[in-house]
Symmetry: D2
Subunit: 341 residues, 4 copies
C-alpha cells in the first residue's frame, strides 16, 4: 500500500514519516512539503538517515496530488486553515484522508470562526467528517472517507474523562484541567519565545483562559456527559521536547476510587495503548516519550470528595502521528498496534 504525507516538514509530520517508513503495511511513502520540495528528507531529518534512504520531498499541489492514481491514502500534517484546501480536492477525487489538523474537529462552524479567526472553509465536508479518538469513537467511523484526528491536549483529557462522564462517576460541571506540554507542541515556528535559551529553565502558562483546544475538549466531553460542559483549561509550556502531563480535578458523583478504576478497566481492557497505573502512583512524560501509549492514574481526596486524575501522552505520537497511524490500522483492518510498538 502507498501512502502520502502532505506537509511532512513539521515535528508531527516528521514523527509520522518515522512511523510509516517502518510500518509493515506501507510499501511506499510519498512526502510533500511546499518549502522543502526537491530536497532529500534525510538532510532535514537526520535522525532518520538509516530509515528513509533517498526519499525526497515532492511538491504539495492539491490538484496534482488528487490526480495521482497510485495513491489512495493521504495524511494531512498541515496547519489549520490550510488542511481543508487539500482535503476538499482529495475528497472529491475519492481519496481516503486522515487529517491531523484542527480543520475538521469542531462540529460548530461558529466555534471554529471564534477560536481560529476565520470562517470555516468547508462546512459541508465538516458535517460528514467523524472525530476519531480510536479508543472512544462510536462504531462505524471506519467507513468514512475523511477522518479528523484529535488534538494533543484533548487526547490527554478525553481518555481519562470520557468514560467517567459516560458512566456518571464525576460531575460534568466544575472540572479544572491543568496541562504542561513539551515545546514541540509549538511546532518549528521561528519565534523568540521558542528559542532554546528562552524555554530552558522555564515553566510558563499561556493562552489562558481560552486556548484553541478548549472548544474541542468541551465538545467531546459534552457528548460523553449528555450535558453542557464548561471546563477551566490551563495550558503551560515546560522544558522538555515531547510530552503532555495533564492533571484534572473533578467532583466525584457517589463514586469511589475503585469504581473509577473499574470503569477505566472496562473501557480500556482491549486497548493496547491505554495503561492504568495504580492509585497513588503518577504518570511521567518520560515513560511515554516516543510511544503511542497513554498512562492514566487517579487518587480520591476524601477531604474534598474530588478525584485528582493524571495522564501523560507523547504529544507528537498519541497526540498526533501515532494516533493517525492507529486510525489507519483500524480503518484498513490491520492490527491496532501494527507499526506502533
Amino acid at each position: 500500500m502507498k501512502a502520502a504525507i502532505v506537509g511532512a516538514s513539521g515535528y508531527s509530520g516528521e514523527a509520522l514519516v518515522r512511523l510509516l517508513s517502518l510500518h509493515p503495511k506501507i510499501e511506499e511513502l510519498i512526502v510533500t512539503s511546499r518549502s522543502l520540495a526537491g530536497t532529500r528528507l534525510s538532510d532535514h531529518m537526520p535522525a532518520m538517515r538509516h530509515i528513509v534512504g533517498d526519499l525526497s520531498f515532492s511538491e504539495s499541489d492539491p490538484a496534482a496530488l488528487a490526480a495521482r492514481q497510485d495513491v489512495e491514502l493521504f495524511f494531512l500534517a498541515l496547519p489549520h486553515g490550510v488542511a481543508h484546501s487539500y482535503a476538499q480536492p482529495l475528497f472529491a477525487a475519492g481519496k481516503t484522508i486522515i487529517d491531523l489538523s484542527a480543520d475538521f474537529r469542531l462540529n460548530s462552524t461558529q466555534k471554529y470562526a471564534q477560536y481560529y479567526g476565520q470562517a470555516h472553509p468547508a462546512p459541508d465536508l465538516l458535517k460528514s467528517t467523524p472525530y476519531v479518538l480510536p479508543e472512544l469513537a462510536a462504531a462505524g467511523w471506519q467507513t468514512s472517507q475523511l477522518i479528523a484526528c484529535p488534538g494533543c491536549y484533548p487526547t490527554s483529557i478525553q481518555l481519562p474523562l470520557v468514560p467517567l462522564l459516560k458512566a456518571g462517576l464525576i460531575q460534568a460541571s466544575g472540572i479544572v484541567i491543568n496541562s504542561y506540554s513539551g515545546v514541540s507542541g509549538a511546532g518549528r515556528k521561528l519565534a523568540e519565545n521558542f528559542l532554546y535559551c528562552e524555554r530552558n529553565e522555564s515553566l510558563q502558562g499561556y493562552s489562558m483562559p481560552a486556548h484553541r483546544h478548549l472548544p474541542e475538549i468541551e465538545q467531546e466531553l459534552e457528548k460523553a456527559a449528555f450535558a453542557d460542559v464548561i471546563v477551566q483549561f490551563n495550558p503551560h509550556l515546560a522544558p522538555i521536547n515531547r510530552g503532555i502531563a495533564t492533571t484534572i480535578v473533578a467532583k466525584a458523583k457517589h463514586a469511589t476510587i475503585d469504581t473509577l478504576y473499574s470503569c477505566w478497566e472496562k473501557t480500556y481492557q482491549a486497548s493496547p495503548f491505554v495503561s492504568l497505573l495504580p492509585s497513588g502512583t503518577f504518570p511521567n512524560t518520560q515513560a511515554v516519550a516516543g510511544s503511542n501509549r497513554a498512562d492514566l492514574a487517579a487518587v480520591y481526596d476524601q477531604r474534598t470528595d474530588h478525584f485528582v486524575i493524571t495522564s501523560c501522552i507523547d504529544n507528537l505520537v498519541k497526540g498526533a502521528s501515532g494516533q493517525a497511524v492507529q486510525i489507519m490500522n483500524l480503518k484498513y483492518g490491520f492490527d491496532e498496534s501494527c507499526g506502533l510498538l
Copy 2:
C-alpha cells in the same frame, strides 16, 4: 554583625550562604554542617569560590552553638524534625532564630503529627513563634525571638491569594492549585528518583492529594478568609533547577479583574519583591530564578466566573533563603532589599 547558618550543606543553605556572604550588614558568617564539619565550603560549593574565601564548615553541636557569646543570629536550614533540637537551646540562650524548616510553621500540633509523622517536639515554643511571610505578616512580629519562614509552595500560593481572600474578592471554597517545582525542591537527597536521567524530559505529579505543605497552605488561607478553607493542591516536578510555577483557579465573588488587580496593587505597592504582570501575560520561572521576586498575574474567565491566577518564585530564594534574609532585614531595621538585589 555575625550570623550563623546551621545546616548549610543543602541547596537552601547554599543559597543562604551566598546571600549572607555578600550582605553588607553581615561582617562574619559561621556555617555549620554535621556531615561536612572541618572541610572548606568552597570545595563543596564551587560556585562560591570567589565569595567565601577560606570559610569552613564548623561543628553543629546545639549546646556549643547556644553557648557562643559572639553570635546573636542563627538561621536554621535543617530538615523538619531536626530544627527544633537547635531552636530550643538557642532560644533558651536568648538568641534570635530564623527557622527555614517546617517545625514551627503549623499552629496545630495535631496537624504536625499527621503530616510529619511524629509528635510535635516543642509545643510550648511553637505557641510563641510567628509565621512570617514578610509581605503579609501581621505587624509586631519583629519583636519575636524565633520566627518561622514559610515553605516554598505556600509562598507562591499565599502571595496571590491572601489579599484576595481578605478583601472577599474570591470564594474561599473550591480553590484548585497546581504547582510545578524545580528539582532543587527535593534537596540533595540521594534517591534514584532524583538522578539526572530520571528527571530530565520528565513531568510528573507526586504526593497528591495530601502533600506536607497542604496544612500550612490551608492554615494561612483560613486566617485570611476568616473561614474554613479546603483546597485541592497538586504538586509536580519539572526538569528545571529552580523555580515554582503555580496556577490557581478560584471563583470570583462579585469581583472583576480590575478589582483583583487593585487589591493586589494596594497590598503590594510598597513591596519591592512582588511584581504584578499585566492580565494576559504569564509569569515565568526563568524570570525569577536567582531572585527574591514573586511575579503574579491573573485573567478572568467570564464563561466560568473564575479567576485563573499564576505566580512564580524561585523556591530556593523567595521560597527559602531570600525570604529568610528579608525577614532578617525587617527585624533588624535594615532596608528590606538590603543584600537581595
Copy 3:
C-alpha cells in the same frame, strides 16, 4: 528462540530489554536482577508497560542460570568484575554469551589489573574471547561462544579511526580525542554528582588523563595501525540523557578529505548503521538518540594538515544494547538490522 538478560536493571539492560522484547526472532525473554528479583519489570521501567506485559525479574544465580536447559543465549549487562562470574559457568555449560561489560575486552591482564583495580579473574577464558565491533571485527568471530562487546566511548572512536589507520591515511601518533557523554553513561549509580540539579546546566570533564576506556581504545587502534598508539582521551559529561559526541584531531598522512571519505565509504558501504555526513556538516547526538546508527563526518584543515573528525552514537544503543543485538543478529545469521530499525 529464548534469550536471557542477566542484570537487566541498569540503563543498558533496560535498553536491551526494549530491543529484545520487540525482536522478531526472540520469542521469550528472561530477565534477571539480584536486587529486583520477583518484581515486575514494568513497575521499574514504566516506559515499557505496553511491551513487556507481566514479565518479571528472576533470580540471578549463576549456577541456576547455567543449568537451564531451555535457554541457549545469555546477554550479560553487568558491572565489570561481576560479569566474569556469570560468564565462566555459562561458558562451561556450553551457552552462548554476549558480554556488555569490560571483563573480556582487554587482551592484557596487566592492563585490566591496572585500570580496573583487580587481577583479571578469568585469564584463560579471556584468551578465547573475541572483541567484536561488528563493522570492524575480523571474520570468523561468529563461531565463538563468548563475545565481548565494545564500550561506548571506544565505539565512537574506532568507527571513524580504525579504517583510516588501517589504510595509513592518518598518523598513529599524536591523536587527540575529546568526548562528551550523556549522563546515562554513569548508570543508575546513586551519587550526588549524578543528581539532576548537579548535572543540569553543567559541562565538566572527568577521569583525565586515564579513563578506564583508554586501554581499550589504544588496544584496538594499535591492531589497526600495526604500531604503538598512545592517544590523549578527554571524557566529559553533558546534560543530555543519551549520546556521545566525539571530536578527534589526527594528522593527515598524504591524504585528502576525499581519500578519507573514500576509505570510509569503502569500509561502510554495506553497513546499515554507519552514516557518513558531508564534510562541513556535523553529527548531532539528538539525531542518533534511540538508534543503533553512528554518524561520522570530517573536515580537513590545511593550516595544520590535520583532519578534524566528529562522530555521534547513542551510548546505550550503538554503545551497548544495540551493538549486542547486532552481534546476535550476525552470529545467528539473522539480517544485521533485524529488530534494530
Copy 4:
C-alpha cells in the same frame, strides 16, 4: 556617573544591563535599541523587573548619542560590522567606548576581512585600540579611549594558556582546543537551529576548522609565545544556557604540573576572578554561571608528556558583560570587583 549601553537587546546586552543597574558607581543608565526603542526594558527582560524600574530603550542614532553632553561612557553590545559605526562618531566626540564586539579585536585588517567577510571599516581607529583581557593586558591600556573586549571562547583559552606560553612551559605548536558553549552564545538569532527542540538533548560541533574566533585566539597566543601559533580549535554547542567549557591539550616543555600551577598562581595571585582548582578536579560551567569567575585546572599525562588543561567561564559574563564592567572598573580606578560579586 552615567553610562550608556548601545544595543542592549541581546543576551550580552541584557547581562550588562543587570550588572550596571546594580553597580554602585553608575547612577544612571541609558539603554538603546534600534528595534525596541520606546518600549520598557522590563517588558522584554522580565528577570529585571525589580531592578530596572521604568527604564526604557531609547533610540540608537550614532550622531545623537555622540552629541549627548551628559554621558561620557558607552558600552557597545552590537554585532560585528555594526559596532564600528558607533565607535567612530563616539570616539570623535571624545567619549570613552568599551566595545564588546569583534570589530576592534584583530590587529590584522586582512584577517578581519577573511573571517568576517568585509573590509575592516575603520583601520585607523583599529591601530590605537588595545585588546584588553584585564588579567593579562599590558600596562597602560587604561588611558585608551576605545577598548576592545575579548570574545568568549578566546577568554576561556587565553587565561590558561597565555601565562604558560610566556613562561615557556608549553610548546607553542600542536595545541588542540575543544570548547563547548551554551546556546546563549548564538544570541537571540531566530534560526531553526536554535529552537528549543533542536538544541535540547543535542551535542554538536560547528564552524570547524575555522571559527571566527580563531584569528583572535592565535593573535593573542602569538603575542605571548613570541612565535607563530597555529591551533586546532573545535567549537561545539551544548544544551545549557550559559557557559563555556574548554579543554586544551598542549605539550609540556620541560615542565611539571607543579611548575604549571606555580606559573598560574604567580600570574593570578591578585586576580579576584581567576580560580585555580586542584589538579585532578575539573571546572564545571554550572559553578561559574552568572559569575565573572574563570575556573582553571590541569593534569599532566606522563604517557604523552602533555598537559590537559580545562577552563570554564560564563560566556555572557566573563566572556562579555562582566569583562566589560571589569575593564570599566580598572579604567576608572574603582575596585576591580566593584559590582561584580
